[in-house]
């Protein structure tokens, strides 16, 4: 039988902590980052691998959702074509505030090797990006580290006010 891992007797037996509202809200936000499934190309495979059992994103509270209305994190994994650019913007607009974007891989960062007429040269031309992950493709460890970095960033933010409008480069 599985051992119960939560130690209720720790901290004097009380599952209560005193903190500021910001901290509590940000703690909650940062540990339940629901990500929109956004695999556009080969990087999407690595994103799926991060979600699958070996790397197991669920233990960070990062669960992939297929609807932008349930998601607050968009992992743009792959090559964004110009034809698709308007749809990524539409989906980004449909996500509820607060929202964050991870640009995963060279293609999403800069267009990568697709220096052609049909590829958007970096998703930051269309949506504001919080975190750029280098690599072609970044390994799941990189994405995990990126998500942890994003969690740190969220914990630093002020939770009480609406998100400041993000700069679009």
């Amino acid at each position: 039988m599985a051992q119960h891992q939560v130690n209720y007797l720790k901290d004097g037996g009380l599952p209560v902590a005193l903190t500021t509202i910001d901290k509590v809200v940000n703690w909650g936000r940062s540990n339940s980052l629901w990500a929109l499934t956004y695999g556009l190309a080969c990087c999407g495979i690595e994103m799926m691998a991060s979600g699958a059992s070996r790397y197991d994103f669920d233990r960070f509270g990062t669960i992939f959702r297929a609807s932008p209305r349930q998601a607050e994190l968009m992992v743009v994994a792959g090559t964004l074509t110009k034809k698709h650019a308007e749809f990524i913007r539409r989906l980004y607009d449909q996500m509820t505030e607060p929202k964050w974007v991870i640009s995963m891989g060279s293609c999403a960062n800069t267009g990568g090797m697709f220096n052609t007429y049909a590829t958007v040269q970096g998703v930051d031309r269309v949506i504001p990006v919080d975190l750029y992950l280098p690599g072609c493709a970044p390994r799941p460890e990189t994405l995990q580290y990126g998500v942890m970095m994003l969690q740190q960033k969220i914990r630093r933010e002020s939770a009480s006010r609406a998100q400041k409008p993000k700069r679009l480069m």
Partner: protein, 268 residues
């Protein structure tokens, strides 16, 4: 000792040959060398004008007039057992001849033969659709229109297939720049934010090797992270990889590298 080679007049000789390897032309054979193709060609010649015909790499190439394309392919399908159109598209010869070359690659399952029908059309000329004979031509002809701008008549849905509907230009033409023209460069900006946003967003960075090593506004080096906007032209300190804030996070146990276990048996 090296063998003596006369050195007089060395200047006059070219000291290099062709820089690039020039592929030799694939040999063209006479159609009479294959007894299946001979009959096919005779059947075509009986009804239509054939400009040229030869065998290359065991495939017969028949060059015809563009206005005969539907009738010839219909005949090949119904009478000569060429029951598959495996590929069709255009080739851009606008620069040299002012024409597009259209090819239809056909396969006969029963005869185990491949045959290619070719014809040439002018830039503004349109072509008869073969979609009624082969469903595979549906998307191929749309792609041909999308990429080359060759309009096909009697097609059920003559619309772009790969590029967006409001795209300008035909990307596979030799005159189309690889990195796109003005319209392509601003396509997503114009469409999403409008033309007035061009100045804010700025032109595309088309130099994939451009890296600003000292840009801390947008980038941080793993293992050398500094606060945003710090000037790092004089080097930056090493920072260990941290997954959490040093003081820890509420309710989350801090990972202790000392206690980690490396699994050496990967089949466990």
């Amino acid at each position: 000792m090296r063998a003596y080679t006369p050195k007089d007049n060395v200047q006059k000789k070219p000291y290099y040959t062709d820089r690039y390897w020039v592929a030799p032309q694939v040999a063209k054979h006479d159609v009479s060398s294959d007894d299946v193709f001979v009959h096919d060609l005779d059947a075509i010649k009986a009804k239509f004008e054939v400009l040229d015909a030869y065998i290359q790499v065991d495939q017969m190439v028949v060059i015809i007039n563009a206005h005969d394309n539907f009738a010839i392919i219909e005949m090949l399908k119904n009478e000569r057992e060429y029951n598959q159109l495996s590929e069709m598209s255009a080739i851009d010869w606008l620069a040299t001849e002012g024409k597009f070359e259209i090819f239809y690659q056909m396969l006969s399952m029963s005869k185990r033969k491949r045959l290619r029908i070719k014809c040439k059309i002018d830039e503004k000329e349109s072509l008869q659709s073969v979609e009624k004979l082969f469903r595979s031509a549906d998307w191929s002809e749309r792609e041909m229109y999308d990429m080359f701008g060759v309009v096909v008549n009697n097609h059920p849905f003559m619309k772009r297939i790969l590029m967006p509907d409001d795209w300008e230009g035909f990307p596979l033409r030799k005159t189309y720049p690889l990195q796109g023209d003005e319209f392509a460069a601003w396509y997503e900006v114009d469409k999403i934010f409008g033309k007035e946003a061009r100045e804010i967003i700025g032109p595309e960075n088309r130099d994939p090797a451009r890296i600003d090593r000292y840009d801390t506004e947008r980038f941080s080096r793993l293992g050398h992270e500094v606060p945003r906007g710090t000037d790092i032209t004089n080097g930056e300190p090493d920072t260990p990889l941290v997954y959490q804030e040093p003081e820890g996070v509420f309710l989350i146990e801090k990972f202790d590298a000392e206690q980690s276990v490396v699994i050496s048996d990967r089949h466990r």
